[in-house]
Subunit: 429 residues, 2 copies
């Protein structure tokens, strides 16, 4: 089992009770509840509230082994994984059945140099870095006397208006307008500008157009300026350059750029494609069979947002890169491994799409439940309950609920710490 | 007002309601509840639970200005502070009255190279670094096949048996024996060794000898080995060398060394001593008047663990470097500034010593309340109530209480994340 994200963890949980020896490998010692990482970046939640130690989940299960290591290669011929541990130890681990859930990461469209100046919100480290930068920008602006520099420090540009970008833009606007209100002397944090740059012609393009319109209106009411049909062509430490089709490029002085556009699949996809000749798309997603197995390797299932799935008609289907898809595929993978052990052949994977949720700010959200489209407070309540429900660990649910109730009532944020490397990578000794 | 620790914050809170313009300057944007930092280092609490944003404390108070900046120098002649902001901005701020509460940091007895390999537990960053190292050591040991290396990875050496060292050693022992129990396959975390190295002849030397003995027994029952009358003479990434008087130096293979010995006062003490000729001791503590003012400068009060106080008989008194001293001096400083504004002269500072508390582990502590000496569960309950009481912010109190109840019942720890730079300083991209 490679990967302790939603897919890998779900597969491991559903296999742990079977008569198998199970090894779960992840580079981290914790499962990250990724849909809430953006709340860490804006200081609403503390890292430990959206993470859960993998070992604690399988405590006392003698047939489950957790290894904190990076999978450097999969040797399909020898049925062996090559691992590298945190101390640099090289290891090999054999397998009979393998579930690969390597996930994906943000890609910078070939501009790796942007990563330094425009952190993403997917990994915990990047979210913490972002938190130090966002809060640090207000602190720096308070000390800054040059009005232009001050304006650039208080300009926040979010790239990509998918759910993460929309949530992030909404949170920054609330941070500036509500949380930090009346806390500064020289600046009014509320005068900060939040721009949401999107290539497409609407925000939340995976939602029905009516909900996109509502989300956009909710963002605008919060003070976010959506800039649709704009492409980012340059980012440096002090500005971002954007371009609309047919228009001239525009340079915006902004010290804070947040990246929430475009993902690239785990490099394990390419590693598997090399050995099997399976098709790989531009985002690095490998094409797998309708039963999620690797072509020619029924013992290897690949799941989550690192795969495309071959349909009956030969076309490739890309499922949205969200937790429900990964979890359903994880459960399917567990069932498929069990079936194989019993000599049965599982049917193809079917995705049950229960709907789509995105929150925009305090008490504002959109929910597309197919049979019902919600926006505003009812959508937000749905969002809240679903997220609390899926948070692993009773303790985390309690803590997050306490924080959210507190934030809702006071508009405060409990985890507003500037610690660790910020903009200039300085660390206290 | 320089410093947002216990002393500076208390002074600011008690002055904020007066008819003054108050500026509070700190390098950080938060107050750190330092007596619980060690719980962050062992994953029992999350950083945001022991920190509170300074701005949030003074939200809406128009006469209080918070600046996140480092004080590089105090110009007594011009009554001006020189500051450097997070973005490198140089600023000057004038004052009429000044309270300096710069605090102290761990000193490595002239061996600054030890800092890299033996993190301390005073600053939040170092505690997080330590957390990644401690938890990472178990993960690495699980993957390690060389038994000697494995043993070194599972050897934890705490230097200094004051309250912090004792608490740290107890926490590590509990982490290994209880929290991580039954979570590993190749190693038994309980076989980890915890050594507590102390120069003096007993642990908790500021407590009565009878409580030191009880603390030592409690530590031994937890599996900690106190090594009294031993001095550390060398530390590198893989070992620590200790020496007992008259005996030969002994090299212990240990990958985890935690520094909890010797402090050095803020460099602002030296800066003030230079300008006034006030006496500075080896630990950098400046000698101030009985009313905590700087000799010759009634407008400058210096408080907390960066000072020694001149007694009526001319001798210098060193108060223990604990929160109650700092808080009482902070309140005294606020009163003194008010008195000065009204043309009155305050009497000398008196410390009301309410007692000493140290916890050793789950449900074990020692408490010296002078009229009463407690150990075991009653002492621990006292410790718990006092700490919950003094934690700033209702939300933090709730969260910490939830975590502690959970940990007490399950022996689990909620914040066991390995994130940020660990042993080898690697960061995810």
């Amino acid at each position: 089992m490679i990967g302790g994200g939603f897919g890998g963890l779900e597969a491991a949980k559903h296999l742990a009770s079977a008569e198998v020896e199970l090894t779960l490998i992840d580079r981290r010692n914790f499962h990250l509840f990724q849909p809430l990482t953006y709340q860490v970046a804006t200081g609403a939640l503390s890292p430990a509230e959206v993470c859960y130690p993998l070992r604690a989940i399988f405590k006392g299960r003698r047939n489950v082994r957790v290894m904190m290591a990076e999978v450097t290669a999969i040797d399909l011929a020898d049925r062996e994984l090559r691992l590298r541990g945190g101390g640099g130890e090289e290891l090999r681990v054999g397998y009979d059945s393998l579930v690969v859930a390597g996930g994906s990461a943000y890609s910078y469209f070939g501009h790796e140099e942007w990563r330094e100046v425009a952190p993403e919100v997917k990994s915990l480290e990047s979210a913490l870095d972002l938190r130090a930068r966002l809060l640090g920008a207000f602190e720096e602006a308070e000390l800054q006397r040059d009005p232009e520099r001050r304006r650039a420090l208080l300009t926040f540009v979010v790239v990509g208006a998918g759910p993460t970008g929309v949530e992030m833009a909404g949170q920054i606007a609330e941070l500036a307008r509500d949380t930090l209100r009346n806390e500064f002397h020289e600046i009014d944090p509320g005068e900060g500008r939040v721009l949401l740059v999107e290539m497409g012609d609407r925000v939340l393009s995976t939602f029905p157009p009516s909900l996109s319109r509502r989300a956009q209106r909710a963002l605008e009411r919060l003070g976010v300026t959506p800039m649709l049909r704009h492409t980012v062509v340059g980012i440096d430490a002090e500005s971002v350059t954007i371009e609309a089709a047919g228009a001239e490029a525009e340079r915006i002085a902004a010290h804070n750029v947040i990246w929430a556009a475009g993902v690239t699949a785990s490099a394990l996809g390419a590693n598997l494609a090399e050995q099997t000749g399976a098709d790989l798309d531009r985002a690095g997603r490998i094409l797998v069979e309708p039963d999620l197995t690797l072509p020619g390797h029924p013992e290897v299932l690949t799941i989550g947002d690192m795969v495309r799935v071959r349909e009956a008609d030969g076309s490739a289907r890309i499922f949205p890169g969200v937790a429900p898809v990964a979890m359903q595929q994880g459960r399917y993978a567990a069932k498929a491994v069990r079936a194989r052990l019993e000599g049965r052949t599982p049917g193809p994977f079917h995705y049950l799409d229960k709907g789509n949720l995105a929150t925009i700010g305090r008490a504002r959200a959109v929910a597309d439940l197919h049979f019902l489209r919600l926006s505003g407070f009812p959508a937000w309540l749905t969002w809240l309950l679903v997220h609390i429900w899926y948070l692993i660990g009773f303790q985390n649910r309690m803590l997050v609920l306490v924080r959210w109730i507190y934030s809702f009532l006071t508009r405060g944020r409990g985890a507003r710490l500037i610690a660790g490397p910020g903009r200039d990578g300085r660390r206290e000794p």
